[in-house]
Each structure stands twice: as C-alpha cells, then as structure tokens.
Symmetry: C2
Subunit: 329 residues, 2 copies
C-alpha cells in the first residue's frame, strides 16, 4: 500500500479510536487502564482487553502455561490499576493450523492454575485459524462501586508518588532471557526471568488503594512512561528521585555490574507493579496496607505544578530515559 504509514500506538489510539469512544462516558476517552460500564445503580463493570502476538510478545519456545498466565495477568493488572475486583474473562485464540495439541493443553493448564489463584472464570471465547503467528486476545471483567474506581487522572498537587514491589525486574528479566545480563547470580537471573514471564498483578493492593490513592496506573510501559500517563491525564508534573526507586537484589547486582542499565530500569516495561499517587497524610495507612499485604510500598517522588516527568539522580540531574514509553507497535 502506498499511503501514509501508521503512527505509533498512543497516537493511533488518540487519532483513530478515541473519537469512537467520545460519546461513551465510561470509556474515559481510552486514556485509562480499563473502562467502566454502568450495569445497575451502584454497580459498574470494569473491562479491559489485551492482545499478544507470537514472536513479538512471546516466543515459540516460551512455556505455554507461562504465556497463558502472562496474558491473563496483564489484564488482571489493568483491573488492579482501577481498584476493581476481578470476575472473569473471555478470550479469542487465533491459532496456526499446525499447532501442537500439547501446546494448547499446557496453555489451558496455566489458565486453570491462575483461575483458581485469582478467583476468576472463563466466560466464553472464539477460536480461529491463521497462516500467521499465534495471536491471543483476552478481555477481563471486574466490578467496582461507581465513582470509587482508581483513575489515572486523579493525581493532585502535593501528592506523593508511590510504587509497589520492585521496579525494573521486567526489563532486566527480558535481558536475562536473551543472555544479555552479567554480574547476576544464576538464581538472580532466574528470578528476573520469572518476573518478566509471569508477572504478579497487584489485585489485592488495587482494591486496598480505593479511597486511599488519588491516581493509579500499572507499570506496563515503564516507570517513566506510565508516570507520564498519570501526569498528562491529571494535568500535573511528576518528580521522581531515582535513588528511592526500589530494586530487587538481582537488579542491584545487574546495575552494579553495568550502571547504564539504570535507563532500562527506569524506562523499561513489563513490571506490572502499581504506581499511584496519594496525599502525604495517607502515608500511615499505606504503611499499614503494605504490612497487611506483605508487599513493600515505596514513596519515590512528588506531584508538582507543570507537565511531564523528571527523574532526578542524587545530584538533582534529570536522568529521565529518552523514548520513555516505548511499546510494541
């Protein structure tokens, strides 16, 4: 074809698809992690969809059960970012005709495990064949009380910026899988690879943050980019102190061996931790929540007037990664 090529994903959504959502209040202009469908007084269904493609989002050699769990979990992570309780999912599996049955059985076993773990059920699906790479899309549903959902747009001046867990493990895990990481123990490499392959959606945390956090997002595009989404929709500026960003022990090892990895840690995606903002007065209740969930919550920065994101090193220099928010497309 000869015409204009497609713009990057964010722009594509804004220019081509967002107008289709303009008349639908619960679509939030396609700028949030999920949408809300008013289904009854006092009840909203939260809906999100993600698609993955073999060779791009996963590899033919990846364990099929892990592919299944990641597909489900990235959607549960979107629900968590909205503070929703997961209910279930539907799935479209577009499969190569020569796919091995054993692959699909293993894939289904991964789903079965995670259905039990997260208390969700399969509600329906469609199956088709393709001459191209396997393509899987999953739509997940949760529920929430109207007006209580966590939104990206809720960050306010003076709020603090928090993250759950540790940051950068997803990006380093992908490097580990490619053999591109040094200075990390074998156990550490396996830990990072596992964080990339099977992330942990912060479902209980998301529900615990309802009424406590002002804005929230899950870190799928990277710390810098996802904080950028929160700041853009909230109309504020985000300042992060790089030294406060929590790292796992293997990530520390990798960073010590190769300081340039700091850009991957701050800019890479696939962590599926929650990033959220909250007023300073919420610190005590957030500490309680962290204890009750046995999940570290770390204050890493603050919300100021302005626009954009700045990640500052110990000397106050702006080290925000270039091309923050690269995503498949």
């Amino acid at each position: 074809m000869t015409g204009q090529r497609l713009p990057p994903e964010f722009q594509l959504i804004a220019e081509i698809f967002a107008p289709l959502a303009a008349g639908t209040p619960g679509a939030f202009g396609l700028t949030d992690d999920a949408a809300a469908i008013e289904v009854a007084p006092g009840r909203r269904l939260i809906v999100t969809v993600d698609a993955i493609v073999e060779g791009i989002h996963f590899l033919p050699d990846d364990p099929p059960a892990d592919v299944a769990r990641k597909l489900l979990r990235v959607n549960l992570s979107d629900l968590a970012a909205m503070g929703a309780r997961p209910i279930g999912y539907v799935m479209a599996t577009v499969l190569p005709t020569d796919l091995d049955r054993a692959w699909l059985e293993s894939f289904a076993s991964g789903l079965a495990d995670d259905q039990a773990r997260f208390g969700v059920g399969l509600y329906g699906g469609d199956t088709a064949s393709t001459p191209g790479p396997m393509t899987l899309s999953l739509t997940a549903f949760g529920d929430a009380e109207p007006g209580r959902e966590l939104r990206r747009s809720g960050a306010r001046l003076g709020d603090r910026i928090w993250v759950s867990g540790t940051i950068g493990d997803g990006a380093l895990g992908l490097k580990a899988l490619r053999g591109d990481l040094r200075g990390v123990t074998v156990d550490g490499l396996a830990y990072l690879a596992g964080r990339y392959r099977v992330p942990t959606p912060r479902v209980a945390l998301g529900q615990g943050l309802v009424g406590l956090a002002s804005g929230a997002i899950d870190i799928s595009d990277g710390l810098a980019a996802d904080l950028g989404h929160v700041c853009e929709t909230s109309g504020v500026r985000g300042i992060v102190e790089a030294g406060r960003v929590p790292l796992s022990e293997p990530a520390r090892q990798a960073l010590a061996a190769e300081p340039a990895l700091r850009a991957d840690i701050l800019g890479g995606g696939d962590d599926y931790e929650l990033l959220f903002t909250a007023p300073p007065a919420a610190a005590g209740r957030l500490a309680e929540l962290a204890r009750s969930l046995d999940l570290p919550l770390t204050e890493i920065g603050r919300v100021e007037a302005g626009a954009g994101v700045a990640i500052l090193d110990e000397s106050g220099r702006d080290i925000t990664p270039e091309r923050a928010g690269f995503r498949h497309f």
Copy 2:
C-alpha cells in the same frame, strides 16, 4: 511440532476450553452464543467475543468499512440470539506494520456508522503489530434480565422451528463475490454479496422474542448446523421442511439455475438470521412481532423426540447437507 494436531473447532472448545468454564455458571459450558455475568441483583451482562483474520474471514480488498461493520455485527447477532440489549464493545486490533492509515480510517468510519445505528459505544481496546495477517477481535456487551435470556437449550417437544428473514444469502453471497454464481441478475448478485459482507443482526427481534421463544441461536454456521446446536443442547430432534425455508428472490434465481445449490443454502453459514423455537400457541404473537418489526418470520419445522436434525424435501426424503456446520478452523 511433532505431536497431535488440533481437532476441529467445536471439539477443541469442548475438550480444551470448556473445562476452564466448568466452574462458571454464566458461561453455560461455552455452548451458547454468549455468556451471562451476574453484575447486580436483577441484572446480567451478556458478553460475546469473535475474532476475524485477513485472508480467512475477510480479504485484503474488502472495503474496510464493511470489514468493521461485519466484525461488530456478528457480535451484535450473538447478543440478539440471547435476547440482550446491546451496550458497547471493546476491540483488539492486531495490525501489519505496513498497513495504510487510510485503511484504518475507513475501518473506523464503518464502526462509527454502526455505533450510531445500533446505539453502542466503544469502551476500550488494545493495539499491537504483527508480521502476519491482520487479526481483529471484538468483545460485545449487552444486558438482560436474569433468567429471561434466550438460550439454545430451551427447545421443547412439540415446539415449532422458526427463522427470520431469508436463508442461504450469506453462502450464496460468498459465491457471488467469487464469481461462482449464474442465473442471477446483477442487482441480485449485489444483494447477495451485500448480505454476506454486511449482515443485519436481528437485535430488535431478539429482544422481542424474550418470553416468546423457547430456544434461539443466530445462523452463523448454517441452518442445519445451528439447528443441530439447538437440538443437541436441548436434547431433542429437529425436523425441517426444506420447501418452507424462506429464500430471497436472488437465491431463488440461483437455485433455479443450479439445483445443487440447495446444499449451500441449507448448510452454508453467515446468514446471521435468528433461528428459534416456540410453542404452537405463540404463532399469533410471532405474526404480530413480524409485522411490528417489518421482518418476515417463517415456521419451517417442528421439534420431536430424539436427537439430531433432518431436513426433508417435498417427498419426505432426508436431504440434510453432509458436513453441516463447517466453520473456519
């Protein structure tokens, strides 16, 4: 890969995916057109998903707006078969990197038209790139009162079998597009092609059948196969008189020129009319409903004890097409 190849779609769903839905009552064992999610007392969300692949379900030269409308409409047809009121949809678009922007703009314009026509909105989506053919999946939502949904499993002994509109236009339309049809006027060929490319989901009929029809399905796999699904889930046998199956004028022309097309008409898919069962006493109210919707409803057969489907010609001979219910996969 070396192991066992995949079974056909129905079997695949039954063997691999249905066990994942076993603990989820609203999934109906993956045997219905859509699923029901209990969202509040007295309120169920009806959910369905369909995926289409370039080169299999649509062709690169098909008008993009028609591709969009068919994708949305086949899902609305599933909602109609459940008697649900459509609300909106989410969509995953997996696009070749060299896709022309104009294609996508035309695709979006088709969605915009149909959103207005059917009163639905876009709630969210995901976009990814693929080295393979374009793959689009759409999840549609509607609502219904619990226990009032139309189900495939509701057909009862003594019920009559009805269809809306005319049958076989979808299969003949595909032949028309391929240049494989003779004896039909140019206008007739265009009519059939249009029926294949942009079907009309019977949304108002579906809602009108609530409380009136005992079982229902939309005809996507073909009259014989879809009646087969109703009979199997209902535990009954369906008898159809081929001579009563309503045909469009172009379909009559095609059949007159080539009598062997009867198998395509009775066995082909993509009509997206509703097939439903109802007790004989419902005939009067069905006639009223047909008048109010300006849509023909035709009684074509009856429900008996037993299993399976028989389509009988004028002399009572069983002419049920072989391989009834062929579907992409």
